[in-house]
Amino acid sequence: MSQPILQLIILFSILIVVLAIGGMLIWLERRLLALWQDRYGPNRVGPFGLFQVVADMIKVFTKEDWIPPFADRSVFIIAPAVIVVVVLMSFAVIPFAPGIEVVDLNIGLLFFLAMSSLGVYSVALAGWASDSKYSLLGGLRASAQMLSYEVFMGLSLMGVVMLAGSFNLREIVEAQRHRWFVMPQFIGFVVFFIAGIAETHRLPFDLPEAESELVAGYHSEYSGMKFGMFFVGEYLGITLISALVSGLFFGGWLGPVLPPLAWFLIKTFVFICFFILLRASLARPRYDQLMAFGWKVMLPLSLANLVVTGAIVLMKR
């Protein structure tokens, strides 16, 4: 088979698989949350309730697609698309297994950071375009939170980059053949994971949507599939962060016996479950606590990590 056709097949299969995972996470999250709350969750539609996703999809597609008359129409429509597009773009640089990736980009990690920064636009614009006070508050919180957590999200990864000597995600995974980066870069891993939660604004850092105070935050005014896009974007974000954590710190596809792709998917799955476990167990902090935690704890920690890692790398050379 010729190269471009193979590339296209890989591209579309990644797109479909990633979107399917994003969809199935609706079911997975509800089942796992139920498991951790001594319940069963959706278990009626199909085997183990798996077709609940189909039911939810039919429902969300047939809902009235309502645009409030006071909203800024064009921005209101574009906002939910931005987050899905941006997250899907980030998946282009994720190496699923040797040969299974969309582009082998030499600045892959920077590309991911750039794309996840663009995700702020979706939330901020949605909050702005809705022209409602709760949406605006959610959008404001989202932009402040995502901008400040963006800072040390990048910094926490620089240790990995130094150790691997590359921004290319495939080379970073290859550099972990003998030792996963989670061991020398444990602080980096913790900081990146926390920043990842804040980036995808999942609980406990879901202040932009905070049901208990802001109705639904930045997507209060959204309904139907526009709301669904935010939802899919959030689940894709979880998948993306989990995939990155497993790739950057846990050796990606490397592992014995099983095929590389299976290892990658297993590791990613574990981190997705951990995301959901965090939602099941932790309470949402206050807004000022969130900002103080980011700037006063996480940023110095990642800077210290960066300096120490740099010193060690220089000494070894």
Binding site: L35, W36, R39, L277
Partner: protein, 171 residues
């Protein structure tokens, strides 16, 4: 920080606990005998209707869902000509059961009364009457009541003294 980790661990360990949900249609919950569910009309041990159509249940009903019409048979025994309970109004409070002097109206441990047509929730007497005595197996109102009906005169009820002749001066 440690408390957060402990919280996460505790929540994770609930995974291995038994779930509290009862998977309803396959698994039935235990309902105590005094559960206030579907209302029935019981019969006395001889098979006669217990209801004497005294209207006390209808009067006690806070949502007015009971309708009946009293009638009397050739033996002087009162019975309801029709007895209608509108279960779409019924709140299953059990006041009718408490008000009933003859243990005729009783609430049972059954709640599966779902209907697609609202009109089907209106139960008539033939829907309500059951063949047995329900929760009070030995009780027969007309056997203990002092009322004279066909085949049983004054003073012939169980544990009942013969009537006193108030016009007699004999001790």
């Amino acid at each position: 920080m440690i408390s957060l980790l402990k919280t996460i661990w505790t929540v994770f360990m609930t995974m291995f606990r038994k779930r509290v949900t009862i998977l309803y249609p396959e698994e039935r919950p235990y309902l105590p005998p005094r559960w206030r569910g579907r209302i029935i009309l019981s019969r006395d041990p001889d098979g006669g209707e217990r209801c004497v159509a005294c209207y006390l249940c209808a009067a006690a009903c806070p949502v007015d869902c009971i309708a009946l019409q009293a009638a009397e048979d050739e033996h002087g025994r009162r019975y309801p000509e029709f007895f209608r309970i509108n279960f779409s109004r019924c709140i299953f409070c059990g006041y009718c059961e408490e008000a009933c002097p003859t243990y005729a109206i009783q609430l049972t441990p059954d709640f599966e009364m779902g209907e697609y047509v609202r009109q089907n929730l209106v139960y008539e007497k033939e829907d309500l009457l059951i063949s047995g005595p329900g929760k009070y197996p030995g009780f027969n109102f007309y056997k203990v009541a002092g009322l004279a009906i066909g085949g049983k005169d004054k003073g012939e009820a169980e544990d009942e003294e013969p009537p006193v002749d108030v016009k007699s001066l004999l001790p």
